[in-house]
Amino acid sequence: MRLTHSVASALLLLCAGAAQAATSWGFDEGVIQVVPKKAGEVIKERTPLAKPVTLGATDTLKLSLTAKDNGIGKRPHQAFLLLQESNLGVEAPFPLTVKESGKATVQITQKDLPVQLLAAEEPLKASIVLASFGSAQGYNGQVFEIKVELDPNLPPPTREAPVRYGKKPLIFHKFNPDPKSPPKVVSIFFALAVIACLPVLLISWLFLGANIKHLPKALSAAPVSHAVFFGSIVAMEGVFFMYYTSWNLFQTLPVIAAVAVVTVLSGTKALGEVQSRRLAGDRY
């Protein structure tokens, strides 16, 4: 079996050597017809059609041809119409139905086309491939183009890109903007305006007759308690200042308590002295 096979192939090889240059596949009587329109166009092996064939939503494209090996009608094993989308290079094969005589036909409607081809923006390139076993040279030629006209009433076909592992688009987090201050000039102006209120207040008090004429009297009556009372008020402000700059709440609270006790104790005495002046009629 093997021997005969190899002998046969050797013979074929010899024949092939002799006939290789001579035989090649081709076709004749090629006609494309888009069915409702009925205008058939003749296609030839070597000359591609100048204008693309339009395939509407309800149309059927019919291709018929006669495959020939060296001018004689014959059935090739491979008789395909290949439609290629030029952007991605996706290609769909459509085998032709071939008879013994080499007469081959294929019908294509939009339903037969895969989504990638339907969604193509440019006309599809149509090639005819005719080839078979043996030494005959195969034929592979681009003979025409198909323009797919979609139904305008239907949503256009969408092609979802398949998931592929690869790099993804970069993401950079958008930070919230930093809090902004008004121009320093404005802040300084208003700060000065606020500070300017203090002299206005003090001067207006002076105009209304504010004075410290009772100070010697008060100090001679209760020197220690007045000094300590006023000192504790100042100290309390100092404690608040320390809390603002460096202390935390737990450092601040005991000091506040201590200062408060001093304020209460010295305050009873000092304010008692103030009351005695009022009772003496020295003040209202």
Partner: protein, 476 residues
């Protein structure tokens, strides 16, 4: 000197452990042990310890009918890799059911399946391949022919020995493992693919074809479609001749459509293209690469270490991988990667300009996705460190540093490090005197304090102006 040293190293390594990163126990399934004569070079390459790169697999041969054959023992794999040669049996018996093969893949075992158009593929393998979304022709047999690219010396009539260029990666960002092109021999290599079966692949990202059929090739059933092809299985580039599947656990399954291309007679055989040019085939090297990839000898990535640290002036230098960061901290992340190449771990490099390793800093969804750049100061002879500096987003919560590097033909890298991100503490904000907008309010407080003290003094010590008034009598 260097080859000698690495040869010694590899002899030593083979004595100690496997040269593949996942073990060296290889089970070969074939009908008859006598068949291995025709694959002697391929199997010899797998076993070899004598020349570079030495591979050192321990081959066990079993027939699918064998009673003693078992892929698992006490729940552990008994083999690290499986190699199927075409067998004539319809199924593969109770020890190689598709379920067991899937379990084998789930246990990180690798499988290399070879088919042939001469023998019908066993149902067990068909089911396994179907499970992976690899479809074979309907009646378990098919033959790929191409009337335009065939070997004119061995198949002038039948056109079933395809002559193909060694495959380059389809995408520029995929590493080239199989083409054999390098600087020293830039010319294109040629593969012979005799009497093989083509498969079509599903659309999943786990599948990747190595070798696709040329445009004009097609698959047909030699028994039923002798005269003409009316019902086409697949044609052109849809047909995968050598296809791979890499599972999420990085286990690898490879389908080689033609077992014959691994036989001795096609290793280094001469093929003749249509134009009559005779060329030596690249089959031996290609077989080595395909089997090496499948059995984890190339394209295996390893994460050596990961470090993330605070990258701010005054940050302590010796603290890495802290558990907590603050919002808007500057952070540096570094990951060290190695790639295994036949006998040794090497620094992993990306294909130039087309691919990048990306770090995601994510809470539910990524807030940052940044490209990592090689960091020469932290790299070594066996590892490349990739790092990136960035600012933690202004959201607090539980975040992940996540590197998910999955590419065709490279084992999967999936790394996740969880950290907390806290908000800014009450004592970490700028002080109010540093904020110019606060100055009017601060001066208001100062004015109030001074005014209060002045009021106290005046209230306590001011003498009334005007006439003295009797106490207890109100002026009318």
């Amino acid at each position: 000197m260097r080859p000698l040293r690495s040869l010694l190293a590899c002899l030593f390594a083979a004595g100690v452990s496997a040269l593949s990163t996942s073990g060296n126990r290889l089970l070969v399934i074939m009908d008859d042990v006598s068949e291995k004569e025709s694959y002697s070079q391929f199997l010899g390459d797998l076993e070899s310890l004598s020349y570079l790169p030495c591979r050192g697999f321990q081959l066990s041969f079993e027939s699918p009918k064998s009673e003693s054959l078992s892929l698992f023992h006490l729940g552990e794999r008994t083999y690290d890799h499986l190699l199927f040669f075409p067998t004539k049996t319809k199924g593969l018996g109770p020890n190689l059911t598709p379920n067991l093969l899937v379990d084998f893949v789930n246990a990180k075992g690798n499988i290399l399946v070879t088919l042939s158009s001469g023998t019908t593929a066993p149902t067990s393998l068909i089911s396994l391949l179907n499970e992976l979304d690899i479809q074979l022709p309907a009646d378990r047999t098919g033959l790929v022919v191409d009337h335009f690219n065939y070997d004119a010396s061995s198949s002038p009539d039948t056109h079933d020995v395809l002559v193909l260029p060694a495959p380059f990666p389809v995408r520029p960002d995929v590493k080239d493992f199989f083409s054999g092109a390098d600087v020293s021999s830039p010319s294109e290599k040629v593969l012979a693919f005799p009497r093989g079966v083509g498969a079509t692949l599903g659309n999943g990202p786990l599948l990747a074809p190595i070798l696709r059929a040329p445009r004009t090739a097609y698959s047909y059933n030699p028994k039923e479609q002798k005269e003409t092809v009316d019902d086409l299985f697949a044609a052109g580039e849809q047909l995968a001749l050598v296809a791979t599947f890499q599972a999420r656990n990085s286990a690898r399954v490879t389908l080689v459509g033609s077992a014959e291309m691994l036989q001795d007679k096609w290793f280094d055989a001469e093929v003749k293209t249509k134009e009559g040019k005779a060329t030596k085939t690249f089959n031996r090297e290609f077989a080595k690469r395909v089997s090496g990839w499948t059995f984890n000898e190339i394209g295996v990535l390893r994460v050596n270490w990961i470090e993330h640290r605070l990258d701010e002036p005054g940050a302590p230098n010796n603290v890495s991988n802290p558990k907590i960061y603050r919002v808007k901290n500057d952070v540096k992340y570094t990951i060290s990667l190695s790639e295994y190449s036949w006998t040794a771990w090497q620094p992993f490099t990306l294909p130039p300009d087309s691919d990048e390793i990306q770090l995601e800093f994510s809470m539910l969804s990524p807030f940052h996705r940044l490209a990592l750049a090689p960091d020469a100061s932290l790299s070594s002879d066996t590892a490349t460190a990739y790092s990136v500096r960035f600012k933690v987003p202004d959201r607090h919560g539980i975040f992940n540093f996540r590197v998910s590097y999955k590419r065709p033909f490279l084992s999967n890298v999936e790394e996740k490090n969880t950290v907390s991100v806290r908000h800014i503490g009450h004592d970490e904000w700028p002080r109010s005197w540093a904020i110019s907008g606060a100055w009017p309010w601060m001066s208001g407080i100062g004015v109030t304090v001074v005014g209060w003290l002045a009021f106290c003094v005046i209230w306590m010590f001011s003498a009334p102006v005007g006439p003295k008034v009797e106490v207890g009598k109100k002026t009318q």
